[in-house]
Subunit: 142 residues, 2 copies
DNA sequence: TGTTATTATTACGAATTAGTAATAATATGG
DNA sequence: CCATATTATTACTAATTCGTAATAATAACA
């Protein structure tokens, strides 16, 4: 077998390895990776619609519904119908959600940063460039 | 929020985007990503123990059991107890499994290669180097 | 040689993920 | 306006994933 999907294998390995580290970092925080990613997006953007969250977190709509339910149960976010288009919901972190996220983020940041710091600044930029390039190409093919 | 986990976010995005492409490529083949990865490892290595497969595919042991069950049901692989240590199973693809894998791989290869070909040879090597570096660092922290 | 520890694997059950259909609101084209 | 198409979201269900405990075989060593 021509092993020219080496890039794919290496990407999968690196990702799974990092994903494990993320899970480890989030263990005992009461939220999982998808929940964290959704909260992060909301924290950065201030507010997003469900559809925008789906496009950011890249999980299926039915999975996002589940994630939002969980976070809503924990009172970390609220959903508000948009007045001008009632099909749309605007999602916002609550004060509690924001506070909890900030606490979790601080530790998570240090932990993850200690991994990525194995790359120097230039290497990290190069990684961004390369990953964006294949991510974009891959998205284009959908 | 200091956005210095940009690398993490970009990696996640690129991965999920590629993962979608992989799923698309494997749709209608009757096997999913984990099943494909396990078969690929077996195809390349000839045979592996369950534990070796777990270390390759990087999923929990309980998940691997499920994957192996699925593939065994489809008669794509067989399990043989090792004589010298009966705790250990040696997993091998059947002739059917091998043939099916080759068929699937051929199409999958073209599809995935068309994505990674957006990188030139040098860029691809660089990507390998960078991903291995953070993958390794991340694994070390376990 | 008989505990005790370690390793490989499976069993079980709960949580999550995801595909598909349903619902509800809005847009569009006659 | 009305019928139809499109968009956003949820409901429902099946499949998968995963943590943890159980089992079974082997190793270690007093």
């Amino acid at each position: 077998m021509k092993n020219e999907l080496k890039s794919l294998i290496i990407l999968f390995k690196a990702y799974h390895s990092i994903e494990k580290a993320v899970k480890h970092s989030l263990a005992h925080t009461g939220i999982n990776v998808n929940e964290f990613t959704a909260m992060e997006a909301l924290y950065v953007k201030g507010s997003l619609t469900t559809q925008e969250l789906i496009d950011t977190v890249l999980i299926p709509n039915s999975s996002m519904t589940y994630v939002l339910e969980r976070l809503n149960e924990k009172a970390y976010l609220v959903k508000n119908k948009k007045e001008s288009d009632k099909r749309i919901q605007i999602i916002v972190l609550t004060a509690l959600g924001t506070r909890v996220f900030e606490e979790i983020y601080e530790k998570h940041f240090s932990y993850m940063r200690s991994i990525f710091d194995v790359l120097d600044k230039e290497e990290e930029q190069q990684l961004h460039y390369l990953l964006k390039k294949i991510g974009k190409k891959s998205g284009d093919k959908e």
